[in-house]
């Protein structure tokens, strides 16, 4: 499914997710002006991004796709979106008793609190005027945040970190294919990859990673993106009805070395 069709299903409250969406306060943001970057941290080149969170700003989970209008989505679909919503509702029901398990899902400190704090965006767009749709030519787009982050490094003549150059790789890069219809269920393990060496098998369901409950592929990407390689992350996995623990090994160059 392409991203636009998926988004259309979400906006229309597709029957598969309508009752779930009714249990959320749903907010649709179509401009990045004044976006709170201390809270909303994701791959700003995405074509669709969603956050499930508490009113106190505690994030339950993320859901995302970076595919285009005509491309088949790798990580999204109404089925997995519904499962992510269901899991987020479960986390909400368990909150705040489960707050410690959500600690790793929370945003990290950032140098720029809103897009307009980046010099290139400040020069072009000025300061945000507040909530609501701003004028056409003053509209900041998500991908412009990504561009501004990179420009910031170029301007400072510092080496751009790989985390910024190659953000949020899909787990395929270390050999783990995840089913786009599920939360974080293994659909393929490529031979000779670190995922194969770590012991993953098709059908494994990743319940937690680095102690965080996984409600989507985007959640897996959040953990691996923010890991400090070389690293070995602990995954709690459901295999044939039994919980087992497996490592996810990230080599120093895991972002640029396919599998």
């Amino acid at each position: 499914m392409d991203c636009q069709s998926f988004d259309e299903q979400v906006v229309r409250r597709d029957p598969k997710v309508q009752k779930l969406l009714d249990q959320f306060v749903c907010v649709r943001i179509v401009q990045a002006n004044g976006m709170d970057l201390t809270l909303f941290q994701f791959d700003y080149d995405l074509t669709f991004a969603a956050f499930m969170l508490n009113a106190d700003r505690t994030i339950y989970g993320r859901y995302a796709s970076r595919t285009g209008r005509r491309q088949t989505s790798q990580g999204t679909g109404i089925e997995s979106f519904g499962k992510a919503l269901t899991a987020a509702l479960e986390l909400h029901r368990g909150y705040p008793a489960n707050k410690s398990s959500l600690a790793g899902k929370q945003p990290l400190p950032v140098s720029h609190k809103i897009p307009e704090d980046y010099p290139t965006l400040a020069a072009r767009f000025g300061r945000p005027a507040g909530a609501g749709v701003v004028a056409d030519r003053n509209c900041i787009h998500c991908h412009q945040i990504s561009q501004a982050q990179k420009k910031d490094f170029e301007g400072a003549k510092r080496d751009m970190p790989l985390q910024l150059k190659l953000p949020y790789p899909m787990p395929e890069i270390f050999g783990l294919g995840l089913d786009p219809k599920e939360k974080a269920k293994v659909s393929r393990v490529w031979d000779g990859t670190s995922a194969a060496r770590d012991g993953f098998k098709v059908g494994d369901e990743i319940l937690t990673l680095d102690g965080q409950p996984m409600i989507s592929i985007a959640d897996v990407q959040w953990v691996t993106h923010n890991a400090k390689p070389p690293a070995q992350l602990k995954a709690e996995v459901l295999r044939a009805g039994k919980r087992i623990t497996l490592p996810i090994t990230l080599a120093s160059d895991w972002r640029k070395a396919p599998r």
Binding site: Q4, D7, E8, V10, V11, R12, R13, L21, Q23, F24, V25, C26, V27, R28, I29, V30, Q31, A32, D36, F40, F42, D45, L46, T47, F48, A49, A50, F51, M52, L53, N54, A55, R57, Y60, G68, R69, L85, A88, L89, H92, A131, G132, V133, A135, D136, R137, C139, H141, C142, H143
Partner: protein
Amino acid sequence: MPARLPALLATATLLVAAPQLIAQEGRGGLLAADRAEAAAAGHWIYNDLPKGFADAQRTGKPMLVVFR
């Protein structure tokens, strides 16, 4: 409000769509219409995060924030 969806979707897509689309004229008009349509539909809080937080606080519901 299915009849209103095409304008809503076409406009929302522009936020993260290809830069050449973003540069096209008339986007401001589309955004204004999109906002009105979404408000009329009533399902989504449109581009107003503080209202979303206030509603979540008041109702005790979790929030879903979609960036598009």
